[in-house]
C-alpha cells in the first residue's frame, strides 16, 4: 500500500480500504476516517412500532380536538375543525385494518362522535338502529369485537 498505485486512485496509507464507502482522492485529516467508518445504521422501525407511533399521534390529536371543540353546539362544526381534518388525513393514508382498531380503542376509552369516520372506513353501519349515543358506541364496540378488531 502506498501513494499511488496501479488503479491510479490514492488512499491514505493507514486507513484500511474496506472502511471507505467509496474511493477518496484526498482525506485531509487522519482522525476523521473513523467518523466516516462508523456510520449509524438506518433505523429499522418495525410495522408494530409504526402502528404504535400512529396510535400515539392519533390519541394526541384526538385529545386536542376534543379539548378544542367539546363545547361546540354542532357536530358539523366539530368535523370542520382543522385538527379533525388533519386526523382524517393522517388516518386516510393508512390501511383500514390498522386504523379501525385505533379508533375503536379511542371510542372505548373516551367516547365521542367517531361514527362517521368508522362508517366511511369500514363501509358498514352496525349502529343504524341505535336510539342514543351510548347505544351507538356499544353497537360499534360489539361489532369491533365480532370482527376481531378489538378484544
Amino acid at each position: 500500500m502506498g501513494f499511488g498505485g496501479s488503479s491510479g486512485i490514492t488512499y491514505w496509507p493507514e486507513a484500511p480500504r474496506d472502511f471507505c464507502e467509496k474511493p477518496l482522492v484526498r482525506r485531509p485529516y487522519y482522525a476523521n476516517y473513523r467518523t466516516i467508518a462508523y456510520t449509524e445504521p438506518i433505523a429499522n422501525v418495525s410495522r408494530k412500532e409504526e402502528l404504535s407511533l400512529l396510535e400515539k399521534k392519533f390519541k394526541e390529536l384526538a385529545k386536542q380536538w376534543q379539548d378544542a371543540t367539546g363545547t361546540f353546539a354542532l357536530n358539523m362544526r366539530r368535523y370542520a375543525h382543522p385538527t379533525y381534518q388533519s386526523l382524517m388525513h393522517t388516518l386516510g393514508k393508512e390501511s383500514v385494518k390498522d386504523v379501525v382498531p385505533i379508533i375503536l380503542r379511542e371510542l372505548q376509552q373516551r367516547p365521542d362522535v367517531w361514527f362517521e369516520a368508522l362508517k366511511v372506513l369500514t363501509k358498514t353501519n352496525p349502529a343504524q338502529n341505535s336510539k342514543n349515543f351510548d347505544e351507538t358506541v356499544r353497537d360499534w364496540l360489539d361489532w369491533g369485537k365480532r370482527e376481531h378488531y378489538i378484544s
Binding site: 363545547t71 354542532l74 357536530n75 358539523m76 365521542d112 362522535v113 341505535s130 351507538t136
Partner: protein, 190 residues
C-alpha cells in the same frame, strides 16, 4: 335548588377547563348544573328541554334530529326558525333583561367561522324562571349563569356575540312557576 320541573338541581363549581375557556363566566355566577352528555346539545336543551335530542340540521345518526320544514342549511336563520315555530318572536333589540310575562332565548353567532363571510350560529341559551340563564355547552355539561353576555367574546371557547334575542309569552304553568320562584326568595334570584 329546585329546577323548572320540580326536580332538585345541585349547583356545582365550574370545571377548570370551562373557567379557562369562558373567562367571564365565573364572575357571572357560572355554575355547573349537570354532568356532560353527548345526548343533547344547546338547541335541544333550549328548544325542547330534552336530554335526548341532538339537534343537527343534517342528521347522520338516528338520535340526531332536525324539525321538519326547516332548511337543513346550517344558516343562522334556520336556527332562529327552530324557535319561531315554538312561538318565539324576534326582538328588535338585544335586551336580555328578565320580563315576568315572557320567556327569552339568546342566539349567539360568530362571523365567518366556516371560511365564508356571514354570521354563523354558534350557541343558544335560554332564560329560567328565576331570571338566570341556562346553557348546554355542546357535548359538555350544562350550566347556569346570571347573564347571557358571559358567554360572549372571541377568546377560548367563547361563542362570539349575541345576535338575536327571541321571546314568547309564558304559559300559565310557567307563570305559576315564576311566582313560586319569587316567593321562595331563593338566593339565585336576582
Amino acid at each position: 335548588m329546585i329546577g323548572e320541573n320540580g326536580n332538585i338541581i345541585s349547583l356545582k363549581m365550574l370545571p377548570s377547563h370551562l373557567e379557562r375557556g369562558f373567562p367571564k363566566l365565573r364572575a357571572d355566577g357560572g355554575k355547573k348544573t349537570s354532568e356532560a352528555t353527548n345526548e343533547c346539545n344547546c338547541v335541544g336543551w333550549s328548544a325542547s328541554r330534552t336530554r335526548s335530542k341532538w339537534f343537527e340540521p343534517q342528521p347522520t345518526q338516528p338520535w340526531e334530529y332536525w324539525p321538519k320544514g326547516i332548511p337543513e342549511d346550517y344558516s343562522l336563520d334556520s336556527f332562529i326558525r327552530v324557535f319561531e315555530i315554538r312561538g318565539y318572536k324576534r326582538c328588535a333589540t338585544l335586551d336580555s333583561s328578565f320580563e315576568f310575562l315572557f320567556k327569552k332565548v339568546a342566539i349567539y353567532a360568530e362571523f365567518g367561522i366556516y371560511g365564508q363571510p356571514g354570521w354563523e350560529f354558534t350557541h343558544v341559551a335560554d332564560q329560567l324562571h328565576s331570571g338566570a340563564w341556562t346553557s348546554k355547552l355542546g357535548k359538555d355539561i350544562d350550566i347556569q349563569h346570571n347573564t347571557p353576555q358571559s358567554l360572549e367574546g372571541n377568546y377560548g371557547m367563547e361563542y362570539g356575540k349575541i345576535i338575536q334575542i327571541l321571546k314568547r309569552r309564558c304559559w300559565p304553568w310557567e307563570l305559576i312557576a315564576r311566582i313560586c320562584v319569587r316567593l321562595s326568595k331563593a338566593p339565585h334570584v336576582k
